[in-house]
């Protein structure tokens, strides 16, 4: 791998019973790069995300992460506390359902501040200021800071999850269908926010989505998966405008034009 690769994987395979969820997958990610993994349900994209982020072990293959000091770490050979520390600081994970990631009994400000405290921040006033700043960045009114997330709409909850994830300035964020299940107008706002924040903060993202327009808007590169294999990959606009593989042609031609 090149000297500045942030994340690299070689030959990842994973089987669930009779199903080959991942079949010999290679992947690479540069700092600040957004990589979309697209494909239909059951194509293996979420399995790939889970394996790359160390949440799931591959049967074969290896994934490396390069830390800020330049040292390489085998994601699946890392001691558990180190992986957890990574997920609290350098890495972030945005799930489709924000309720799986947020603490619903803790205020909005608390949800954001908690991740800072997990990193060792102790000064209450500063944590509160940072949390408020992040709520504003994701367009949540400061007056809602002390409200519980259960009073928030779906779109607000997702924006809160993004604030909670980005507050520690991660270098790498894994996103699993971050706009899935939201109304289109809410989706547009969220996509614009993600696009702007990720570019301004130079965050690398592995984005799983089945929505090609989300991939087009956010991703520099795209990987198309079918039955656990990567069937086509390249520049996002190249793959979507000039698809070569039969499965990619099928996916692209199945999108309704608005």
């Amino acid at each position: 791998m090149a000297d500045d690769t942030l994340l690299a994987a070689r030959g990842l395979s994973r089987r669930f019973g009779a199903v080959q969820a991942l079949d010999n997958v290679d992947a690479e990610l540069w700092p600040g790069e957004v990589l979309a993994i697209v494909g239909e349900s059951g194509s293996g994209k979420t399995t790939l995300l889970d394996v790359l982020s160390g949440r799931l072990r591959p049967d074969r293959g290896v994934a490396w992460y390069r830390d800020p000091a330049g040292a390489l770490h085998d994601v699946h050979a890392m001691p558990e506390p180190m992986l957890r520390a990574l997920h609290r600081s350098d890495w972030g994970f945005v799930r489709q359902n924000p309720r799986d990631a947020l603490r619903l009994g803790v205020t909005a400000g608390g949800n954001v501040g908690e991740r800072l405290m997990a990193q060792g921040a102790r000064h209450y006033g500063r944590i509160r200021d940072t949390a408020q700043d992040w709520l504003e960045r994701v367009e949540i009114d400061a007056s809602r800071m002390d409200d519980l997330p259960r009073t928030f709409s779906g779109g607000m909850l997702q924006r809160l999850q993004i604030a909670r994830t980005l507050v520690t300035h991660p270098r790498l964020v894994f996103m699993d269908e971050p706009t899935g299940g939201l109304d289109v107008s809410v989706q547009a706002r969220l996509l614009d926010l993600i696009r702007t924040l990720v570019a301004n903060l130079h965050i690398a993202v592995v984005l799983v989505t089945h929505d090609l327009s989300v991939a087009r808007l956010l991703a520099h590169r795209i990987m198309v998966m079918q039955r656990g294999c990567v069937v086509e990959s390249g520049l996002t606009d190249q793959v979507l405008d000039d698809p070569h593989h039969p499965y990619t042609q099928l996916l692209v031609s199945s999108v309704l034009q608005a």
């Binding site: 540069w30 547009a188 520099h220 520049l235 190249q238 000039d242």
Partner: protein
Amino acid sequence: MTAMLTAERLRKTFVLHLQGGTSIPVLDGVSFSVAAGECLALSGPSGAGKSTLLRMLYGNYRADGGHIWLRHDGADLDIASAEPRAVLAVRARTLGYVSQFLRVVPRVPAIGIVAEAGGGDRAAAADLLHRLNIPTRLHSLPPATFSGGEQQRVNLARGFIAARPVLLLDEPTASLDAENRDIVIGMIREAKARGTAIVGIFHDAAVRDAVADRLYPVTPLQDPHDRDHSDQRAAGAAR
């Protein structure tokens, strides 16, 4: 003169897997070179593959054979075989492309779209939008609801603000009235005077005569009665 962009024996065939693997050859043996300050116009009938060629030069469509040498950061780089990262760097610094239609990003206002392409310079973006007769009251609105001509002018502002050394223009005046067309002709001439190398498709003969130094004829490869297939390529291509 230094060649800024050189096409060498380019070949392109679309294979339509959803239609039984039908193979549609569109381009073969395309070779030309464009120098700094020069404008090359692609000519030929509708469906001959001019837009396909322009998209290949931008790295949007992949070439099946040949090379696209681009002068980038002082060296020649082959777009046809470059890594995705290199193509993105080329687009960020060297190669601009003005398509016929604006692909709008939800919520981003016209001025934001233009400023983003120009390194965040909102004053320059506003100037260019004014020059293209987009009034101030429209600058803060997302262009989704603009007319076709207004969208095309926002697209032109985005393409011209960054002053890249090589510029690709696909029908830049297709939806414009005479007044705005003349403004765009002026902008193209200024870009050439700055040394920008341009490859363009101009159906409007008056525009072509006003800006082009040379013509490159793109000829259909197939039987004329088969030609309409080239518009039905794999899908997705249509916008």
